[in-house]
């Protein structure tokens, strides 16, 4: 049984102008020690997914449907008291901006020790020891001093390390990292990601890494989810998603990377922009921007326009795309099919 099982998750926001569906029918699993990446543009719903796991979605957001099972227990219906025991303890989170995440008027020590004390009966002295230990694990120099310092006295990179240390304090099973390096300098980004990778491998901690940065995902994760307009549209082993993306959107994302562009030419863009969650087109949300959604006559395919695509397995990935489904179902045999398919629609580009 997987460590974390998210099934058909449906999260909505009850706004003044109507209800907005932030997550639609999102499903994925996470095994012990596995590292999963969730990628997508801003507004695709990645952060919402992250927050929902620990039920940290604030009103007017709410979980409309679906289940989140952690270690066999259902999280969506848990009472706040029980959820509190899981947060920071079994499942920790790392947020985006380390300056905003740490309370400016409390010392690092206070913010670390309170976390330990919230979940265990432990003396301050012992808690301090554990905190120091974790600080060393994230390679922070002179950890004793840090405990008595305030957040604003430290650099951005150090703050994020401390936050990672806090996430590790209680030896959690899962760390959910929401864009952990976006707010940092480029040079520090690499360090932090390496650190995260090292720690997760060493302590067998599962990781859910949420980011819009494909480079980071390819460095760190084993599997990846691609989200678009609140839905998962492709998921599979990271290597395959990066090297051999099958969903047109994912292909577009990969092609848009500067490394993929021809020197001297314009960067490849996906035309248009992602629709706002309040105004998603019917059928496949990507179809207005998709170059494959037209049929032989140049008209929009009916299924792309009207029917929400479901997952079809193609190789080791699950892809939610009508065209891919067509290709898969028209395939003569199973085994070498994946190479054929990618060949086919790469030609069509």
């Amino acid at each position: 049984m997987a460590l974390l099982e998210v099934s058909n998750l449906d999260v909505r926001f009850a706004l003044r102008q109507g209800e907005v569906k932030a997550l639609r029918d999102v499903s994925f699993t996470l095994d012990r020690g596995e590292r999963l990446g969730i990628v997508g543009e801003s507004g695709a719903g990645k952060s919402v997914a992250a927050f929902t796991i620990l039920n940290l979605i604030a009103k007017p957001g709410y979980i409309a449907d679906g289940s989140i099972r952690f270690d066999g227990r259902e999280l969506t219906t848990m009472k706040p008291r029980q959820l509190q025991q899981i947060r920071g303890n079994k499942i920790s989170m790392i947020f985006q901006d380390p300056m905003m995440t740490l309370n400016p008027v409390l010392t690092i020590g206070e913010q670390m020790i309170e976390c330990l004390k919230a979940h265990r009966r432990i003396r301050s002295r012992d808690a301090r020891e554990i905190a120091l230990n974790k600080l060393r694990q994230v390679y922070i120099p002179s950890p004793e001093r840090r405990l008595d310092q305030y957040p604003h006295e430290l650099s951005g990179g150090m703050r994020q390390r401390i936050i990672i240390a806090i996430a590790l304090l209680l030896d959690p099973d899962v760390i959910v990292a929401d864009e952990p390096t976006t707010a940092l300098d480029v040079t520090i980004q690499a360090e932090i990601m390496e650190l995260l990778l090292e720690l997760c491998e060493k302590h067998n901690v599962a990781l859910i890494l949420i980011t819009h940065d494909l480079g980071v995902v390819s460095q760190v994760t084993q599997r990846t989810l691609v989200m678009y307009a609140g839905r998962v549209i492709e998921q599979g082993p990271t290597r395959e998603i990066i090297n051999d993306a099958q969903h047109p959107y994912t292909q577009g994302l990969i092609n848009a990377l500067p490394q993929m562009a021809t020197p001297g030419q314009r960067l490849n863009q996906i035309p248009g922009s992602m629709p706002s969650l309040a105004n998603t087109p019917p059928g496949c949300a990507f179809h207005p921007r998709c170059s494959f959604s037209d049929d032989a006559n140049g008209e929009r395919r009916r299924d792309c326009r009207e029917v929400i695509p479901t997952f079809v397995r193609s190789g080791n990935c699950d892809v939610a795309c009508h065209m891919v489904r067509e290709l898969v179902e028209s395939r003569p045999s199973e085994s070498d099919a994946s190479d054929d398919n990618s060949h086919k629609h790469r030609e069509a580009l």
């Binding site: 940290l56 920071g88 309370n103 400016p104 976390c115 806090i166």
Partner: protein, 348 residues
């Protein structure tokens, strides 16, 4: 920290200096000591001589320095009306005002924090809405009017008879809405002498009863302000990332509210509190007028009526000094409590 301290002290001196210049200017231009010192029949020539002797014709700066020197020794001359050194008149009236302000501050601190925090945690509960509604009404009623209404209700008594008087339930309801009054509303009543010029209302229940209405009146205008402020700040803080992070760490809501959130909320509240000290001084004058509370505010007003210039000037200087000291103390407290101020001397 030192830089911060020095900056604040410098500012304090500057303000005190300005107060002293203004006070002196008032004294110089409006006051005429000669007139008060000698009778009507003294001829002009003698007055002119006296002016020369007393150095009243010296240039402004010289006279100012003389004034400042005396002021530093708390010598401000004699009151026209009382005939005694003004400093003694002020000191006699000061304890009354200080006790009133103390009682008011106590009320404000005791009530504003719980109510403000509650209204922020449960902003839509009926109780919160009630608090907010009452607050905005409270801000709209000038302090002297609140005082008058309180006097009417609690000192004089109101007889409400909206319900039919000849029925049992009617007269019971009428009775519930009416009051007999009886709270003291004039002066300080029986005070117990402590030492020097200080007599206190706090020593006896009776003494305290005289303090109640004036303190509530004075608090009535500042309390809503702080409640609204604490509520607004707390609401903002509760939206911050670090509160979300604390929740994600599994910290109890109670600790989040009362440590993580409250500490951040109170910082700007302290700042505003400092700014409100000046307003408090003005409102004290109004309150003392309504209740005929014999504090420095009432003394000041009487002095204006009587054109008792030296007393006016002394009031400005002494109250100005207290004001400056209090402001500086509040700033220092802020500097101590806010960790981002420690090293650099200004907020990070």
């Amino acid at each position: 920290m030192i830089a911060f301290l020095i900056k604040r002290l410098f500012h304090a001196f500057l303000v005190m200096f300005i107060i002293s210049v203004i006070s002196f200017a008032i004294q110089d231009n409006l006051g005429d000591p000669i007139q008060q010192m000698v009778g009507q029949s003294v001829p002009e020539s003698e007055r002119a001589e006296l002016r020369e002797e007393l150095g009243l014709n010296d240039p402004f700066m010289v006279q100012y320095l003389r004034f400042a020197k005396n002021a530093a020794q708390f010598d401000f001359g004699y009151s026209y009306f009382y005939g005694e050194p003004t400093i003694e008149v002020v000191l006699r009236h000061l304890p009354a005002t200080l006790e009133l302000v103390f009682a008011t501050t106590l009320l404000i601190m005791l009530f504003s924090v719980p109510i403000g925090v509650y209204s922020a945690i449960k902003p839509r509960s009926p109780l919160s809405r009630l608090f907010m509604g009452v607050s905005i009404v409270g801000i709209s009623i000038p302090v002297f009017l609140t005082a008058i209404v309180l006097i009417q209700i609690f000192a004089i008594g109101v007889q409400f008879t909206p319900f039919p008087v000849d029925t049992g339930w009617g007269s019971w309801l009428n009775g519930a809405l009416s009051t007999d009054g009886g709270m003291p509303a004039y002066g300080r009543g029986d005070v117990v002498h402590v030492f020097g010029t200080w007599s206190t209302n706090f020593a006896s229940l009776e003494g305290l009863s005289y303090l109640v209405l004036p303190a509530i009146s004075l608090a009535s205008i500042m309390l809503p302000l702080f409640i609204r402020l604490i509520r607004a700040e707390m609401l903002e803080v509760l939206q911050s990332e670090y509160v979300k992070f604390a929740k994600a760490k599994g910290i109890s809501m109670r600790r989040i509210y009362f440590l993580h959130a409250l500490k951040n909320t109170m910082l700007p509240v302290i700042t505003v509190g400092g700014v409100q000290i000046g307003t408090l001084v003005a409102y004290t004058i109004l309150t003392e007028t309504v209740f005929q509370w014999p504090g420095v505010g009432l003394m000041f007003l009487d002095a204006i009526e009587r054109s008792d210039i030296p007393l006016i000037v002394t009031y400005l200087m002494i109250v100005g000094l207290i004001f400056v000291i209090t402001n500086t103390l509040v700033d220092l407290i802020y500097g101590l409590v806010n960790p981002t101020v420690k090293l650099t001397g200004k907020p990070a």
